[in-house]
């Protein structure tokens, strides 16, 4: 299990104990973060699972693909910390990751 510190869109801070080997998007939704819509089901085509991962530099996150960057570019809320949570696998290496749900487009 991997601990995630999550700031929801309304500002509420929660902790989620996430199972490994699923996407961060799935872990967030399983943890009740339903403002993560993930309308495309997790295939990197809609950008409705947009989060900020504020300490990405200290965690071994995979780099953004071009598709992911292009999609994030369509968001009004794109920053350097932006990720699509469907593109990140949960593993123990991410234990303690801080995740902030991005504002809705």
């Amino acid at each position: 299990m991997t601990r995630l510190h999550v700031t929801r869109r309304d500002g509420e801070q929660i902790e989620i104990e996430a199972k490994n080997d699923q996407s961060l998007m799935q872990a967030l939704r399983a943890g009740g973060v339903h403002e993560i819509l993930a309308m495309c089901g997790g295939c990197c085509s809609c950008a409705t699972c947009h989060v900020y991962v504020d300490d990405g530099s200290t965690k071994p996150l995979p780099p953004r693909s071009k598709d992911e960057t292009d999609l994030l570019d369509s968001s009004d809320w794109f920053t350097d910390a932006s990720r699509l949570s469907c593109q990140i696998r949960v593993s123990e290496a991410l234990d303690g990751l801080r995740v902030v749900v991005a504002p809705e487009d």
Partner: protein, 396 residues
Amino acid sequence: MNSSNEIGELAQRALVHFNAGTTDQAPEQMRVPVTAYNDEQRYACEISNVFRGLPLALALSIQLPDAGSYLALTVMETPVLIVRGKDGIVRAFLNVCRHRGAALCKDGTGKAPRFVCPYHAWSYDREGKLVGMYGKATFGDVDADELSLTALHCEERAGIVWVCLTPGKTFDLGSWLGDFVGPLETLNLEDWHIHDQRDIPGPGWKVVLDGYLEVYHHDSVHGQTVGQYTIGNLLVHDTYGPHQRLVFGRKSLPAMNELPEAEWDTADYIRIIHSVFPNISISGVVGDHCLFSQVFPGPKPETTITKQFVLSAKKPETPQELEQTETFSRMTLQAVKDEDYAIGATIQAGLKTKANKDFIFGRNEPALQHYHRMVERYGKWPQPDVKGATGSGEAA
């Protein structure tokens, strides 16, 4: 404008008729051939020119209350997606993915930041722009700008969303509505509450619309429902280009004869119907309840679907308010479905019998006459036949 002054004037016009036993009249009777109702070629021509060529009042603004609100609906076999953007602007598109044509979402309302095709997860933003494709790197390059959702000309005015169903065809809403925009805006449709929505199957388009355009039938057809409250065969009639305003007297109208003018409650004495060409009736907007009816032709001349909204001035909250709204809703449904459309079904059946070559519209049915003249003008059926036609009724 339906200002209180004007409501007073309308009530006085109605009272003059009531006292004299008269009604607003057309100069002459008019004949319309029965083929205008059931000729399939004519039907196709008029659907194309009228229903697909003109702006239609496709939605109420209150169906799209917030940024991101959407309404997906199928109108005359055309799937339409209407979305309010973050900028507050309402846009309309064909609800058809630009990849392989699946509908992006099911008919209904909701809120969404993106519209994602269920087939291959191509996704579009609220402005219709293609923003994502599943497996984009494998698909190969596409020009996203060229693959935006197909837009339909759309404008919002007077609490109504106006859309032309033909892609690429535009309209000038100001000139289309003309002076009618004033009366429409005073209805404040953006402030009403949707209490109920219902789809009512009915007979053909013109048979149905005819029933919304005269009060001559109220005593005979609606004696147990809305006819209890309205005076039959008394019409105050005004036209605004193709659009019309019909005013009926309520049974309370004669109170104006008894009471001093200072005590008149003129809004209570009349019922106002705004008829937006070609298919909208906004009925009973005086007081707390209103029926907003959209009549959409079916694939053949003999069927329609009426999308009907029961609106209340505010959301009913107390049991008493709820009961009043429910009573209005039930009574109007009975009047429309069990009375008007039931008679209409017999008219539709009778069309085929050739018992009538023509229908005669009386001088007391001026709104019917005006409607059919406008259908002829905008429908552009190449054989003019409305006036004095006697021999053109035989089916070819």
